[in-house]
Symmetry: C2
Subunit: 398 residues, 2 copies
Amino acid sequence: MTPSLVVENARTEAGEIASLILNNDRIAAIGPNAAAGIDPAVPRFDAAGGLLCLPFVDGHIHLDKTLIGLPFIPHIPGDTVARRIEAEKSLRRTVALPVEARGGALLEKLAAYGTLFVRSHVDIDTEVGLKGLEAVLSLKQSHGHLVDIQTVAFPQSGVLRDPGTAGLLDAAIAAGADLVGGLDPAGIDNDVTGHLDAIFSVAAKYGVGLDIHLHDGGALGAFELRQIADRTAALGLKGKVVVSHAFCLGELDDAEFGRTAAALARSGVAIMTSAPGAVPMPPVKRLSAAGVRLFCANDNIRDAWSPFGNGDMLERVGILCDRQDFRSDEDLAAAFRLATQAPAEILGRPVEPLQAGSRADFVILPAASLAEAVAARPLDRIVFRGGTIIARGGRLVI
Amino acid sequence: MTPSLVVENARTEAGEIASLILNNDRIAAIGPNAAAGIDPAVPRFDAAGGLLCLPFVDGHIHLDKTLIGLPFIPHIPGDTVARRIEAEKSLRRTVALPVEARGGALLEKLAAYGTLFVRSHVDIDTEVGLKGLEAVLSLKQSHGHLVDIQTVAFPQSGVLRDPGTAGLLDAAIAAGADLVGGLDPAGIDNDVTGHLDAIFSVAAKYGVGLDIHLHDGGALGAFELRQIADRTAALGLKGKVVVSHAFCLGELDDAEFGRTAAALARSGVAIMTSAPGAVPMPPVKRLSAAGVRLFCANDNIRDAWSPFGNGDMLERVGILCDRQDFRSDEDLAAAFRLATQAPAEILGRPVEPLQAGSRADFVILPAASLAEAVAARPLDRIVFRGGTIIARGGRLVI
């Protein structure tokens, strides 16, 4: 079969200059001599020595919340999570663009930065019902050529606190959501057992995973993490549960950190962090050393929760490095993987390494190493999706 | 006199659309109707509704340290400040580009982002002597058309720890450095009184200010801050002393914070923070409420201390907002001023508000408010210096 494209002069992570032979949406061959003997009539793309990388995975976003696509809307301050939830609902009733337009605009931005797989939480509550989910599911159709989308039915207003939500979570999974969400069993629902009973029972009924937002701090948050780990193991959900945020892991003494991390590792519960700046964050190296899987993601991107965020995972990696004092090449490369390989594995997407037979999804960055890419955060990147260039220099070209 | 340029359709901070009339390097008039009656032959520039802002001030950089202009150099890890100092000296001996080239390249980047005034610390030690200072002073000549430069004679290797440095600091001021620097009197020199005696005596001899790097933590750092405040008051240096970093201010109990902040406010000692991610930072609102002046700056930009940093003060403002949990329009606008008006005042540069008679140094940002500019961090900015556009879209155009 005649290849569709030869990508020449790409640099592998090992520093080798290689060619990639693409057959439509697949990598047919890769290596220093892969282009030898290829018909000279096959189109060539010169990667100019750029670094060949896995595409980014943004494993925690909110496609229904984003205000991208609208003029800037000032943040409505709220000093508790409960007040912010109310402020967001109020804004949601009046916002001028539907989820399809805002979420679609965000997906286009993400793809332009090289993010080709996302997990989106979608608010489920008794006011919005499944409307947000239906809109996000429609984005799978309209934007699936750019980004693969996984969805979490997320009870942003609580489960017990907003009676009727448990049934909606069940209906959301039946309607096509991929995972059951959860939120601060103590801090929002004021009932750790009741909240976890509700969400784990939906997950068990459908055999799906969970992704639980946990802001509760200190010993309380750690207790909830261990409860989640125990239920995960008991229900045979090992490897299918993520806890997002888990600020508490940055606040524990050695003993409590040790037994909490051990429980997470044993049950295969993974941690998502956005490397937040104003609260404690999970310590990346200590968790890795304890066998806990972790990835980073953007979370709020210009929404009612934060006016900040541009969607660039390479910037998020840099923020994580800043918060964790990562400076060496080794640490920067490890941080890069928290936005590529780690979330792909944890989110259950078959990781397709950059080798023959894999889908031709990759990013070429103007850098000689992962460390340089992380430190310099170049926008001048080339994004391949299914063997085609979909973005250059931070802009879609299809 | 015929104006040199009319800038039309600019948005003031108050949201008003105004014109600026420029007479060469000065603002001749500004206001909604300022362009009325101006000769139609005068050149026009359409600001397209962009926000008219003061230029950025980067009040803490290291022009002699930066590796900008060189291929990426992996960070050499060091687990103590002393080890990092040695690693940097080792690198300095072999680096392939002189300070003039690296510092010049950095100044060009800064100007392209809209930073028109910097304070650069310059290493002074018994190995490098005044060579770094002489190089940075030469940048005042070569790059003064882009950026105004203030210099600090900075004893990066300590004063008592590197005998002979005190005399070099004296010689540095005599040679044209603007301020005397200092560094962790306890942590590096192991002698609070001895270190402060040495640097304050040079400052007193020449009647110049000081800018002291203080990483020492907790009660020790707070003690040193109060010592610095007392000496500042005693020597009549009120308003001429800055302490950079002062991580300790983020670690104190209310009582010690209160008396330390009161001492700083009383003596007019200001605080510089880069809003570091991995260590405590000075609490911005609490310090302001206590009457302590504060500004933010980039500090290390791609050097032996950090592979990160691009020089954009608008990004630094966003990092500070992240660390301080600033989200409201009011907080974002206040943070913006920590990179413009506040450092200009603290560093002793006459602040020239955007009004008739002022120097025509300003930046036009594609945003409707300071908050939007901070949240969105647009690169598509237009930088005026002395009445001329020197940069657009993050690139110099002169």
